[in-house]
């Protein structure tokens, strides 16, 4: 069918607007990437007007990887995003599976108890006091255990497990499988897409851990990447300040623009790298949330 002139004009305008939106979204990230590879003298000479560097330089990256603060923090964040994600997935999936068994005594009670935690948020201070009483302050576990699972994810994963055909599980039961066997051999393998989506959400949340670290970590050797980034990027003399960790790094030399941008690139890279592989899963994850609820 031939398109009318109005329709073709509309198409052209639509593609132009969407391309512009894409450019506006990507430009800040592209600019950061380019400047991070630019020689710091060239950056100063051109006043930052750089769309493509003439003198490539890895100096900013070399500097970052020579500072123990940055490497330590990257290691802490990597630990959170791997160990934390694995633990969160296990705890969430195990609880969700248990709650998806209709015959379980106390199931309804537990579900209501979980929904209540979604509705009422006790604020910042009471959880802080719990973490303090447990002696977790300044422990890297304070960044994992208090956010180990979430009511949302337990309920969403439970509704995903509910959607697995009962026949499959019954067949396994007939073949003598126990509940644990059904969980590990039937339900988990069938839930791979959901696990990928939840895993992505957990991993990103752990990698982006910031405020828990402001609250719970005062020892600069144990801060995650986001804290170091904040100290580098957000001028600590004008900001609200934070834990002792914040004051400690401001004694370091002020990094130049290119070093700051290199730090942004390194801390964004893991997300950008895993993103394409998981894209088809996370849209499913979001839909699961909106459809099932």
């Amino acid at each position: 069918m031939k398109l009318s002139i109005g329709s073709r004009l509309f198409n052209a305008a639509n593609y132009a607007v969407l391309s512009l939106i894409g450019i506006v979204t990507l430009f800040p990230l592209y600019y950061v990437l380019v400047v991070s590879f630019t020689d710091s003298h060239e950056f100063a000479e051109k006043n930052g007007f750089i769309l493509f560097p003439t003198n490539w330089s890895l100096a900013a990256y070399e500097y970052l990887f020579s500072t123990s603060a940055f490497i330590n923090a990257a290691a802490v964040s990597t630990f959170l995003a791997t160990v934390g994600t694995a633990l969160s997935l296990i705890v969430t999936a195990a609880m969700a599976f248990s709650l998806s068994r209709k015959r379980l005594r106390g199931r309804q009670f537990m579900l209501v108890a979980i929904v209540i935690t979604l509705l009422f948020n006790p604020g910042i201070i009471p959880p802080y006091l719990v973490v303090k009483e447990l002696g977790l302050i300044n422990s890297v576990w304070s960044l994992i255990i208090p956010v180990l699972t979430s009511g949302w994810y337990v309920i969403l994963m439970k509704s995903f497990f509910d959607s697995i055909p009962v026949e499959l599980e019954e067949a396994a039961m007939i073949d003598g499988s126990t509940d644990l066997g059904t969980f590990f051999r039937i339900v988990l393998p069938l839930s791979a897409p959901a696990l990928a989506a939840f895993g992505l959400f957990y991993a990103v949340a752990y990698w982006n851990t910031f405020f828990s670290a402001v609250l719970y970590i005062n020892d600069f050797a144990k801060v995650p990447l986001q804290i170091v980034l904040r100290n580098m990027l957000v001028d600590s003399s004008t900001s609200t300040g934070g834990s002792a960790a914040v004051e400690m790094i401001s004694e370091q030399q002020i990094p130049t623009q290119t070093i700051k941008m290199a730090a942004v690139v390194i801390s964004t890279l893991p997300i950008v790298c895993i993103y394409p592989f998981l894209q088809k899963h996370f849209t499913k994850g979001v839909m699961l949330g909106s459809v099932k609820g």
């Binding site: 939106i21 990230l29 935690t117 604020g123 201070i125 009471p126 959880p127 255990i145 039961m173 950008v272």
Partner: protein, 320 residues
């Protein structure tokens, strides 16, 4: 043959197992299921229910040395102090203004973007744009605030360099009360607009395509198709999203504000959480700041419950 009989035998046993035999036998039968749930149960008890009980320190002159059990009870003293404090009005105004600006300028954008994306017939182009606009959702606020500082800095940011190059005076974006709320809104638009399209695009794909074909035969332009078919079809989803957003009107992007805040903009930036953090964690006024947090939580709870009731009225499933 033999194995079939064995299977039948087992089948009747599993059916029997599923039948209830009283509380303790049931619990014994399902002990492994409880074991699976145990870490989660402990988590919710220790990190959700203990803090819920811990809010009682809002009614205490809490001292960390005495603990919850031995601290002095002061009734509603902290609440009275907070409500009679000018800070209360400031916090409330800032929260409402930031929420309202987001509602006005951010909320419609995912809908508009979804409508534009829906008109794209070229699949690869559509998918590329979607991939690009979803990406910022995954970046931390530290990164986004950091990039904002790099771009907007008065002395070295490229935006001010361009302004100067074009003959304008450089502008102080970052420590300026007048533009602080706008800056928050723009950051939020950049980060979340793309992500917000996922739900709306899904609602659009559920529209019956026969409607469009019928409209085409009747000679309806694409604008009219959008106006008369797509928008009415996703109206309920939009209304529900709007109601739920209103239910969370007390929740503003706290990490974002915490990071963007500086001495020059405290007046317009301070919200409940930043205030609680400063007075509670930094200055050790645990009882008082817990009371402030509790006030916010209770208002939030009431709003969310009302919002869910309303959302259900529009024929959509609520959040819980």
């Amino acid at each position: 043959m033999n194995s079939n009989i064995a299977k039948l035998g087992r089948k009747s046993r599993t059916q029997e197992k599923a039948r209830s035999r009283g509380l303790w036998p049931d619990i014994r039968r399902d002990r492994y299921l409880y074991l699976l749930a145990l870490p989660g149960i402990l988590y919710f008890l220790v990190f959700k229910y203990v803090p819920m009980w811990g809010v009682v320190i809002a009614f205490q002159d809490y001292s960390p040395y005495l603990g919850i059990l031995h601290s002095k009870w002061v009734g509603f003293e902290h609440f009275i102090r907070f409500f009679s404090n000018p800070d209360f009005i400031i916090l409330f105004r800032n929260t409402m203004m930031i929420s309202f600006l987001n509602l006005l300028f951010f909320f419609p954008l995912p809908i508009l973007l979804s409508l534009l994306l829906n008109e794209v017939t070229h699949h690869a182009f559509k998918r590329t744009i979607q991939s690009i606009v979803y990406l910022p959702h995954f970046l931390s606020w530290v990164i986004i605030v950091g990039i904002s500082f790099l771009l907007l800095s008065q002395s070295s940011g490229i935006i001010n360099m361009m302004l100067q190059w074009a003959g304008f005076a450089s502008y102080d974006f970052l420590t300026n009360k007048d533009t602080f709320w706008a800056l928050l809104t723009i950051q939020n638009i950049w980060k979340e607009t793309g992500w917000g399209t996922i739900i709306i695009l899904a609602a659009i794909t559920s529209v019956d395509t026969q409607l469009y074909e019928a409209a085409k035969i009747d000679g309806a332009s694409r604008l009219r198709q959008t106006w008369h078919i797509t928008l009415p079809a996703i109206r309920n989803v939009i209304i529900v999203l709007l109601i739920l957003r209103l239910g969370h009107i007390m929740d503003v992007g706290f990490e974002q504000i915490f990071l963007m805040m500086n001495g020059a903009v405290t007046d317009v930036a301070d919200v409940f959480e930043t205030y609680v953090y400063r007075n509670g964690i930094q200055n050790g006024q645990f009882g008082y700041s817990t009371a402030v947090g509790l006030f916010k939580s209770i208002v939030g709870l009431i709003l969310v419950i009302i919002a869910n009731k309303l959302a259900k009225k529009f024929g959509e499933e609520g959040v819980y």
